[in-house]
């Protein structure tokens, strides 16, 4: 795991990251791909929620997914660790195809971390126990070793002093940072975020975004559903815009925000900026 970085949003505004991200999209070679979705379709009963989704994500790439409510953003990323099943098309994650008869979906899930809007921490376990749960019980790592890693992770998300509290005793922002640490404890190759800051009070949003920015810097492959446009501009290599189950447009953040192509994108951006 990469070294802990303490940099904040301001320090990210300098060229290192932007150069890095611009470079990545350009020099992608196909064998660098870690996620590939080909003509993916999904229905909930008669409701067609994903329509011919094609998406490729390279290693270390940071993707921000946005779009109006109900457009299928959550469904899309939940298909990537198969919390949801797609009915048509192909999804490859880290070279393994996700389908109904896969041998062991848990192997994929260990490598794909997920952070939820509602945190979903385990309320009966302390912060530290939440973090070591999966390493100890899934990966069978010795408890003491998992414990050390967990302490490091808590330092990384800047709440080492909360280790022995229960989730209900933490603020929303702290809980979400624990949730991120819990996912990272499995040393995932990909991190999925489903509106990680939407349930938070405004003053707590930045503490979670800081952690996510640090994570992005460390080279993690990230797919974030978020409406935090500042974050998208700073961190994303690409912004994907969805509406009514389709990917309408994808572009690097600069182009996406300043020069949207589709009228639907324009409308959406006008709406969230008006807020």
């Amino acid at each position: 795991m990469n070294k802990i970085s303490t940099s904040r949003i301001d320090s990210l505004k300098n060229d290192t990251l932007t150069r890095d991200s611009a470079g990545l999209t350009a020099k992608d070679s196909p064998n660098n791909l870690i996620i590939k979705m080909i003509n993916v379709n999904k229905w909930y009963g008669p409701l067609h929620v994903l329509k011919d989704i094609n998406l490729e994500v390279a290693q270390s790439e940071k993707i921000v997914v946005c779009g109006p409510s109900g457009s299928g953003k959550s469904t899309l990323i939940r298909c990537l660790n198969r919390l949801e099943a797609h009915q048509k098309g192909e999804i490859f994650v880290d070279g393994i195809e996700l389908h109904d008869h896969m041998e062991n979906v848990d192997i994929i899930r260990r490598d794909v971390g997920m952070v939820f809007q509602q945190f979903n921490l385990f309320p009966h376990l302390t912060v530290i126990e939440n973090i070591i749960a999966a390493p100890v019980w899934v990966r069978k790592i010795p408890r003491s070793e998992a414990y050390e890693t967990a302490i490091e992770l808590l330092e990384r998300v800047k709440i080492p002093e909360q280790a022995n509290k229960y989730p209900s005793q933490l603020s929303g922002g702290q809980q979400q940072r624990v949730a991120i640490a819990r996912s990272l404890a499995m040393q995932p190759k990909i991190m999925l975020f489903d509106e990680p800051t939407s349930a938070l009070d405004p003053e707590m949003i930045s503490e979670v975004l800081d952690v996510m920015i640090e994570l992005a810097e460390s080279g993690m492959t990230m797919i974030c559903v978020t409406h935090e446009m500042g974050f998208a501009r700073e961190v994303a290599n690409r912004v994907v815009f969805m509406d009514e189950g389709q990917i309408i447009e994808q572009n690097d953040p600069g182009e996406f925000f300043d020069n949207p192509q589709s009228p639907r994108t324009k409308l959406f951006l006008d709406q969230i900026i008006a807020h």
Partner: protein, 325 residues
């Protein structure tokens, strides 16, 4: 539960209520002439012989009773809520137990038998109930997990089990086990037969309770565990059950209290538990009431002890999430 933060004006201290309360009881006591009861004898110095005191005697008895009842609730009104509830409980218990005097129970007879009744009967009742509830807990846990497992075979077996066993009256099941099993070659004693029947029956009910408890855990917990790579079994064991068990325990306590009494059914196949003692000990001398009432009191005390225990348990599980530091 939410506790009101504003204290109402106390009803029992309002003159209007006191007046009405007294009036109602006065009229009631007056109509149901209590002169002939123990109260009439108490007031004999004032009214003379209750039998001949006529309307005057009736009036005095009703007035005095009504007055003390009203004074009683007026006084209780000054106590804090917890105390109030306790005092009222104790008063009702005294009235209830006091009411037994109409049966003219022979205390000597009770004293002569109670030790035997408790040492044999109570022990068997508790022993049968405890073993049955433990087995039922295990059966129910397996049943509930089977129902939620998504495995067709497991679900089928569990559904068949609860559907059949919840349909059979416990007494019928008891006879089926006790009389039926020996015909298939397994001779079974009365006590194991009773335990088996109670386990099967309560296991079926508790399966549904447990399923409800497990299902009440938010789906987000499943999603979080599964997305960390937990499979079904470990998710259940490490994440879902530790949260579901505190929800399941209180209704299990309730089931246990109910089982304690249903275990009396095994007396029909000759198990020497409390109910069996109650029916047989008084038979020789026709002192049925003595033993029945004694056993009733034993069941009551037992249930009170269990209620206290259950409350402790509930409290323990609701505060267990506080800091561990």
């Amino acid at each position: 539960m939410y506790k009101d933060t504003v204290i109402d004006k106390k009803l029992v201290h309002q003159p209007k209520f006191i007046g009405v309360f007294f009036g109602v009881w006065f009229v009631t006591f007056f109509v149901f002439d209590l002169g002939g009861s123990i109260f009439g004898q108490f007031l004999a110095p004032v009214i003379g012989d209750p039998a001949t005191s006529g309307l005057y005697g009736r009036f005095v008895v009703a007035f005095v009773l009504g007055f003390f009842l009203t004074l009683n609730i007026f006084a209780i009104g000054f106590l804090p809520t917890q105390r109030q509830s306790l005092v009222v409980w104790i008063e009702l218990a005294i009235c209830f137990v006091g009411g037994f005097h109409i049966f003219n129970l022979s205390l000597e007879f009770i004293q002569s038998k109670i030790w035997f009744l408790i040492s044999r009967g109570l022990f068997t009742t508790i022993y049968v109930s405890v073993i049955s509830i433990i087995f039922a807990f295990i059966v129910a846990m397996i049943g509930a997990i089977a129902k939620l497992s998504g495995n067709g075979f497991a679900m089928g077996i569990a559904n068949f089990y609860t559907s059949l066993l919840r349909a059979l009256p416990l007494l019928l099941l008891l006879f089926l086990v006790y009389l039926g099993l020996p015909q298939t070659g397994y001779v079974i004693d009365a006590v194991p037969a009773g335990i088996l029947a109670l386990t099967l029956n309560y296991g079926a009910y508790m399966t549904e309770v447990f399923r409800g408890g497990i299902e009440s855990i938010p789906p987000g917990q499943w999603e979080a565990a599964r997305s960390l790579g937990f499979t079904f079994g470990p998710t259940m064991r490490r994440v879902i059950l530790p949260q579901a068990i505190p929800i399941i325990i209180p209704p299990t306590g309730n089931m246990f209290i109910s089982m304690l009494k249903d275990s009396s059914l095994v007396s029909v196949i000759g198990v020497w538990e409390l109910m069996f003692m109650a029916r047989t000990l008084g038979q020789k001398t026709f002192q049925h009431m003595e033993m029945l009432i004694t056993v009733a009191m034993v069941y009551w005390v037992l249930t009170i002890v269990l209620e206290i225990f259950q409350r402790r348990l509930e409290k323990h599980y609701s505060t267990v999430k506080e800091t561990k530091e």
